[in-house]
Subunit: 177 residues, 2 copies
């Protein structure tokens, strides 16, 4: 790992300089929901160094993760920030369907949503904290887009969750298979 | 993640208290060799919080990772320390074969060793830094042991590597599939 990359990584995570080599932001699903997304929904100004505010639908996945786009795998540690906060956009003013199209393509959900349960020891231990949805990026326009290796995990708080004061905020993890 | 587990985790990694949630020791192969194993071979007293000195052959894998043994997967973040420094033991005083037996079983190598190459930007960019070997734990005695889900990655510096002053030290990563 080059020195410049390390510096970028640090600036992007907002970490203090003395963090030893090899430490990375690798949160669990629960940590993302409890420590990050719940705080974001409570205060839109919450801006942790590890998660950037990005309108994911104004960006293409390869703009979000240039290292991955260049074919460097996760293991080289140079993939930088890959967690984002993004407000949910509805497709039509009256609708509940989410618009996940970008200029070059669209994100399409795949598989079943996974319910993320509070860990033991948490106030809501065993109860649902939120939902994790997996999406794949397709180039082109639906329904004839071409599937790519770009994957996103979208995290939403469960509306009934006491820590969720609003429902529009969302946390996203983008990576490339 | 319970408060007590977080405290244990922190004590074990030697991290300063203000580290934000979700940060973990997830080093690349290169970082392990360059920032940890090379320093350990240069100075046996080097004791980073993230990597413990353990004689892996006096311990069983489930003693090293009680959380994994209890069936909790990696995603709950409670697996604690899983990187170790361990001096290499030869099987016979005159030999070069490594003795990887424990009381309950033995570690057996599997697959081909992987050469870990220095990343671009490093002094030795592109050159071999070390070797990563994968081992699986078998219960019982060779050659009739019973294969388990315990896996170890063993890292060795390449003797020709300028950062390697001794060859006996080794870094190990233990986990359970």
């Amino acid at each position: 790992m080059g020195t410049d990359h390390r510096r970028d990584d640090r600036a992007c995570t907002g970490l203090p300089p003395p963090l030893p080599p090899g430490f990375r932001f690798r949160p669990t699903d629960q940590e993302l929901l409890v420590h990050y997304l719940a705080r974001k929904t409570a205060d839109a100004r919450f801006a942790p160094g590890a998660i950037r505010d990005v309108d994911l639908y104004k960006a293409e996945p390869w703009d979000l993760l240039p290292a991955a786009a260049a074919g460097r795998d996760d293991n080289d540690g140079e993939d930088g920030c890959r967690y984002f906060f993004c407000a949910r956009r509805v497709k039509f003013p009256s609708g509940v369907r989410t618009n996940r199209a970008t200029r070059a393509g669209y994100w399409k959900s795949t598989g079943k949503d996974k319910v993320v349960v509070a860990p033991h020891g948490h106030d809501e231990g065993g109860g649902p904290l939120g939902v994790k949805k997996t999406l794949v990026f397709y180039r082109g326009r639906a329904p004839r887009g071409e599937k790519t290796g770009w994957v996103m995990h979208e995290y939403r708080l469960v509306p009934g969750n006491a820590s969720c004061s609003q429902t529009f905020a969302r946390g996203d993890q983008v990576y490339k298979c």
